[in-house]
Symmetry: C2
Subunit: 319 residues, 2 copies
């Protein structure tokens, strides 16, 4: 029986990722600093391999497969970035991969997944239960299912981004992390508790789908309908059992950001920091700007989760 991952699992994942994942840069912006009166450190996972932090968790999970599992290959379901992450990791580790993707996933993500050599199976995210479908397919084909967030090796892998951030800039007063299913937030919280114990850790969800916020307040996992938001990487319906346990223990609060605030952040990243960030990747900075927390004089980490957005869509949103 798998158990909740610890910081030691994050550290072990970092060892497995060495030479495979990019050590992404931490960027600064004087404009952002003066706007918030704080010292902001942007950990840029949009520059990670395949364009998002998801590579970390996927590669960590697949690199722990037994020889038999490698022969059978991996099956995954994902709104996008986890798909590409599994596809790329499977190719690097030379195993077959099949990915369940929603019909309305961004075209760039579907194409990139196929480009990495995976088989893509599409489904309707508004009517079909992807988890049940994935379990059935995995069992039929003898593949190992790696879920997008609720898996100890995935959570541990995602935590390596925050680990690198703390190692590079030292302790922080606050860390903002986007929240879909909680893999990145859970892993980041493990890293924060070990490396910067007094750091406040905030998860940030789209306003349209605040199941994590409700779950934290009610003390149980709350399930919602698939939220309609531009943050397509955070359209999850509920936290996982592992991620919820870490979040309730190690996360200070969960905030939300509106689609309008995401667009504003996206434009800021493009105009002032010259980088392309997908809507989900804008959640953390949007909340730092708008959630009403007192950050003046504080040292703040902003986890920028990914940059996988169709260029035409990016142009329409930010241009």
């Amino acid at each position: 029986m798998a158990s909740i991952p610890t910081y030691e699992d994050v550290a072990a994942a970092a060892g497995r990722l060495l030479g495979h994942a990019h050590r992404t840069p931490v960027l600064r912006s004087s404009t952002a600093d003066s706007r918030l009166g704080a010292q902001l450190h942007f950990k840029c996972e949009n520059f990670q391999r395949m364009g998002a932090f998801k590579f970390r968790g996927a590669y960590n999970a697949l690199s722990r497969f037994s020889a038999g599992q490698r022969r059978g290959g991996v099956l995954a379901f994902s709104s996008g970035n986890h798909a590409q992450a599994i596809a790329l990791s499977a190719r690097l580790l030379q195993m077959p991969a099949a990915i369940l993707m929603p019909l309305d996933a961004p075209a760039s993500k579907v194409e990139a997944t196929i480009g990495y050599g995976a088989e893509v199976i599409q489904y309707d995210r508004y009517t079909q239960d992807r988890e049940a479908l994935a379990e059935r397919l995995a069992s039929e084909r003898g593949m190992t299912l790696i879920p997008p967030y609720d898996h100890p090796d995935v959570i541990a892998g995602q935590g390596t981004a925050a680990k690198e951030l703390f190692e590079e800039v030292g302790e922080l007063d606050a860390l903002f992390v986007c929240l879909g299913g909680g893999g990145l937030l859970g892993g980041s919280a493990l890293a924060a508790r070990a490396l910067s114990p007094r750091c406040k850790v905030y998860g940030v969800e789209p306003e349209a789908g605040n199941d994590g916020q409700q779950s934290l307040r009610l003390g149980r996992i709350v399930d919602i309908a698939t939220p309609r938001t531009i943050a397509d990487g955070a359209q999850t319906q509920h936290l996982g059992k592992f991620t919820f346990e870490i979040i309730r223990r190690d996360v200070d609060d969960i905030l939300t950001a509106s689609d309008e605030q995401l667009v504003e952040a996206m434009r800021f990243f493009a105009e002032r920091m010259k980088m392309i960030v997908e809507p989900t990747g804008c959640l953390s900075f949007a909340a730092a700007c708008h959630a009403g927390l007192q950050l003046r004089g504080k040292r703040v980490g902003i986890l920028v989760s990914g940059g996988n957005v169709d260029l035409k869509r990016f142009a329409a949103l930010a241009g």
Copy 2:
């Protein structure tokens, strides 16, 4: 009388920039590597303060002003990035700044320059001689003129980007640098000769304005009409006397890239590397892809010079 800067001047400039300029990241791309069969190291000056390498040269030059010069302030002429660089450096060093900018400079660059607190004076780059106009204004107002490229302190400052690149990744087989007036190319060549003596150094100009290429081949500075190209940072009419001397001595060849190739590179940077690069900043990578050099198996540096492009224009070109 000023003399041609040396690598010692680059090293001294690096000391002055410490804590003021960003040490920009060096990014990698597996896709770019496999496309060229080479190992590419992208030095990302689009993430530099004010969005381009020009901050390095401007800050270095202004930090060497005497007390009297600081009181009088600085005057500059620029198609854009040098303007912002001088304006920001003047603000940081608390001196007045006036900037001559062409009427057709990108709106984002004009606004940013005014935003940094400088006075902007506009002129017609197709009919007026900006150098004569600048000299007259500087003398009337008691300001010190800092030209955009042909100044030892500017060249030395620009060389710090390549210095950081070599220090981070070690020696390279080839380095590609965009070429307008030659400040960045000259400074980069000084760094390459000192830190990676066998590295081939290539300047890259827009196809529409290959005055540098002609100058290198004829052994004298060739003057051309202002070229019409999307690479607005490389619309120079001739090299400077300092930059030409360094280039003829230390640069291996000068290549060109078409506007179409720049757009292709711009799209690659956006889609695969999640970053916004202005057309001029795409020259180096475009030539590495298309100039027909044999780079297979080589370690290659790509200097990405800046990211200051109107978002609407970026969307129209790359979207």
